[in-house]
Symmetry: C2
């Protein structure tokens, strides 16, 4: 036991409060107890500080959550591009997934907040440049980018447990869910119930990305107008 813990007036000579420290503390709260557990008070407590002190460094709770989301998104580790458009698009999508999987409890935050566009610029530049090299016009590249982003966001949102989902990953739950689906009596649902009841998120993500990449390449191969 050393001198780092104190009661009462905390951290006299310790590191000062800073935007960076607040952000880190907030992310710790998210990772530990989920995004719903973030409050000015819980974050401040983790720093041994009064909640009101945070306002000297951050613009309020909404701004704090935006900053956390931006921070996670900024953690994307983009792949080196190979020049093979299909491989590169796949790899960028996977790096996006990796960034959100690093903080599962923060995923919904990242996918759901209106982010300051700047935060996501690096991956956007990467996708656009791959599409341009593959023959897309600057305009078409934007449409394709948005389609790809929709697939990625929609898939990761399902994985984060937000958004409409049907499948479940634990063996116990699958059987129950399957029985539930079969009881609906809807013919196509019943037929697909065994597959609808389970969900391998990684496989589904890859499937969806694969489909989107194939569609993209197919479209670029077809001369337009």
């Amino acid at each position: 036991m050393n001198t780092t813990t104190r009661r009462g007036r905390p951290r006299k000579g310790d590191a000062r409060l800073s935007r960076e420290a607040i952000l880190t503390a907030a992310l710790e709260v998210v990772d530990a107890d989920g995004a719903a557990a973030v409050s000015m008070r819980t974050v401040a407590q983790r720093l041994g500080v009064d909640a009101k002190s945070l306002y000297h460094h951050i613009d309020g709770k909404e701004a704090l959550l935006d900053a956390v989301a931006g921070h996670v998104l900024g953690g994307i580790d983009l792949p080196e591009l190979t020049g093979q458009p299909e491989d590169d698009l796949r790899a960028i999508a996977q790096s996006f997934r990796k960034a959100t999987r690093a903080h599962p409890q923060a995923a919904a935050l990242v996918l759901t907040r209106q982010l300051p566009s700047i935060a996501a610029l690096a991956p956007v530049e990467a996708v656009l440049s791959v599409l341009r090299k593959a023959g897309a016009s600057p305009e078409e590249a934007v449409h394709l980018l948005r389609s790809l982003l929709a697939v990625v966001v929609g898939s990761l949102l399902r994985e984060a447990g937000a958004g409409p989902a049907f499948g479940v990953t634990d063996e116990a739950g699958i059987a129950h869910r399957r029985a539930e689906l079969e009881r609906t009596g809807l013919p196509a649902v019943v037929e697909s119930a065994p597959y609808l009841a389970r969900c391998d998120h990684e496989a589904e993500f890859s499937f969806a990305v694969e489909l989107a990449v194939a569609a993209t390449m197919q479209r670029l191969a077809t001369p337009r107008r």
Copy 2:
């Protein structure tokens, strides 16, 4: 001015409080002031009732929001199927969009909540049956369904102003956004800035759906394994 307004003890002989009435009131609050404005107190006030009374009909705030989301999702008006798989998939996607556009402020709620799978069963049955008729196996139909759902959810989430977005719809904002994008100096971003700065949500939705439907049909035309 008639006798419907009262102060103090409200609605003596009026319609009784009910789950249905609470749900409607909550949706009114969402439509009027956004999902963030929903509280047990604001909803109760709209019914001329104490907040605590709601607990006799609903399981708490989270359950209330789930119910509102389910209610909006339940308002989907599915198209009659034509037997043309591509047309049918497109039409189902558009009916999904229509349901969320009917309550724009509730869209994020619908797209973001872990819904009781039952709520979305009708559209799921529709999509699965179209895919089966188009030649998909029960298993492949599920993967394709999930991919399509991801595209739809991701696109609508962008439209709802949640999730990462770049474009803007008002002429005033577009110029500003464009300048901002050009200042980044990222070559592909700069090249596409004029298109990146604006976003026609309906067109982007249709584009993404079109791409996904094309990919789906292409895949079903290719014999698997």
